[in-house]
Assembly symmetry: C2
Homo-oligomer: 302 residues x 2
């Protein structure tokens, strides 16, 4: 266990992961560049937020690295299932990409490491994709990539973590899924789940799969034609994204509660979103088909 | 106390208040009409949602009446400060109006009555205004109307309830106010705050002041010119409205938790909202002036 990765190594690898992802996304977009904001958290630590806007493909994308530490309030500690206020350190990379075209899905990836003053630690993370219009073949291919990733580390992971994602990204007030799911995992720790090194390797591999997997969606769809009705449906689907993130996402509430930088946390918000009272898609339309897929309470993509 | 207003009378008066408000808003708009949806809540009760869209003045407005009853879950009971799960009945009128013009403020009003199976009851409510651009003279006039209303019932109310509104509508993650405040009150009960009849009279008077007060804002501003930069600032200000309602508004979370109708609860959402990473108004601009006013932690309008 003396060789187990320590906080400084994890922090450094998270930063490098952010670099690789930003380089990959810039190459994929071909036009927009990330701007960087360094920020300091009052209670300890800070972060490096990178945002691109108005690209060829990406209307808005944010890739955030942070390493925050200090003392967790009793409320924040309880929300993590810890008995009392404690020192903590948390680091990770989190990203959300909103493409301009309704034919290219929104995507989200997050990897994180958390440790407390009394030597508890865990990894969490995952990635998921939110198409405006669900393409079932592409959804299957994506899930196969996720399964391959999981199987290379621990054969039980794909089933567990894809179900966990489905539950996590379920909009309870709408009875629908945010998108086609992906992986979600939290509280992975040793020895229950392997060694610390094995878990860290899995988390890094998740982070590095992101650009590779998202490339497939982008390149398969970036040149598809679309018109006003697809754009309107995109604005509607984005309002669901806003609802999920502000109502249910634990990362968002944890970040805002622990004094994270608001602009960095809410860079997940879409550039523009639309709410229409009691919107219902036309019977038989492709919009209706997508809504039906999203209402499936037990999708098995592969 | 035998003459104290009972639930059926309160419910009936709430419905009539909804009727008067809708008639007033239709007259004010001059074009759009409310459409009505009646809905039934699975656990008991239901409501009458009325929405207008694409009017002369109002891009989207919702006026909701509801009367829901049943058993409150332990979680929902706790969020109200009650010790255990209990039977409950709740009725009220709630409205949010989003005008098309950035020169006409958003407005919100709510009056509500709540009672439990063991005969606890209280009234709550209030109204507040969210201008895209704050006009200080109009804000003062509005607060004077609110003060006059309060003074006619209980001289201490204006100070208490306008401070309460300021605290309630404070966006903690932004360190700014949602708008110019107004009144907010909750848990008004007898004998601490007067008789039940007196409290009900105050609540009804609050509801009836709404159209009168909001008329002033609409008629003073509806014909003011505006251009693209004002419209963009409106879309930005609306994103703050979304953030408040989904992150902090207790009515929204209580409604979603207790199985209220999602479309009725979220008819408070603006038709279109914009998020721009780290937006900052131009130094010296009217946008900057409004943001500075909203950041005032202790505004005294009168």
């Amino acid at each position: 266990m003396n060789d187990a990765p320590q906080l400084n190594e994890i922090v450094s690898d998270m930063k490098q992961l952010q670099d690789r992802i930003c380089a990959g996304l810039e190459a994929l977009d071909g036009k927009a560049r990330f701007r960087e904001d360094n920020w300091v958290r009052e209670g300890g630590g800070g972060g490096r937020s990178r945002v691109m806007e108005n690209g060829n493909v990406f209307e808005k994308g944010g890739v955030n690295f942070s390493h925050v530490h200090g003392t967790l309030s009793t409320d924040a500690a309880r929300s993590l299932g810890l008995a009392a206020a404690t020192d903590f350190s948390a680091t990770g990379v989190s990203l959300v990409i909103h493409p301009l075209s309704p034919m290219v899905p929104v995507s989200h990836m997050n990897v994180r490491y958390f440790e407390t003053g009394d030597n508890q630690w865990w990894f969490g993370g995952g990635m998921d994709v939110t198409p405006v219009y669900v393409n079932e073949l592409q959804a299957k291919q994506f899930h196969q990539q996720l399964k391959d990733l999981c199987d290379a580390h621990q054969p039980a992971y794909y089933d567990r973590f894809s179900k966990w994602a489905h539950e996590y990204f379920w909009l309870r007030h709408r009875n629908e899924s945010r998108g086609i799911g992906g992986l979600f995992f939290d509280r992975l720790t040793a020895p229950a789940e392997g060694t610390k090194q094995q878990l860290f390797d899995f988390v890094k591999a998740t982070g590095d799969l992101f650009v590779e997997a998202y490339c497939q969606f982008v390149n398969a769809n970036r040149n598809l034609p679309f018109g006003e009705s697809e754009t309107q449906f995109k604005l509607f689907r984005r309002s669901r994204y806003v609802e999920f993130n502000l109502l249910w996402d634990r990362g968002t509430s944890f970040g805002l509660q622990t004094g994270g930088r608001t602009e960095s946390i809410l860079m997940s918000m879409p550039p523009l979103a639309k709410w229409e009272y009691d919107y219902r898609p036309e019977p038989g339309s492709k919009e209706e088909k997508t809504m039906q897929i999203l209402q499936n309470t037990d999708p098995r993509w592969i």
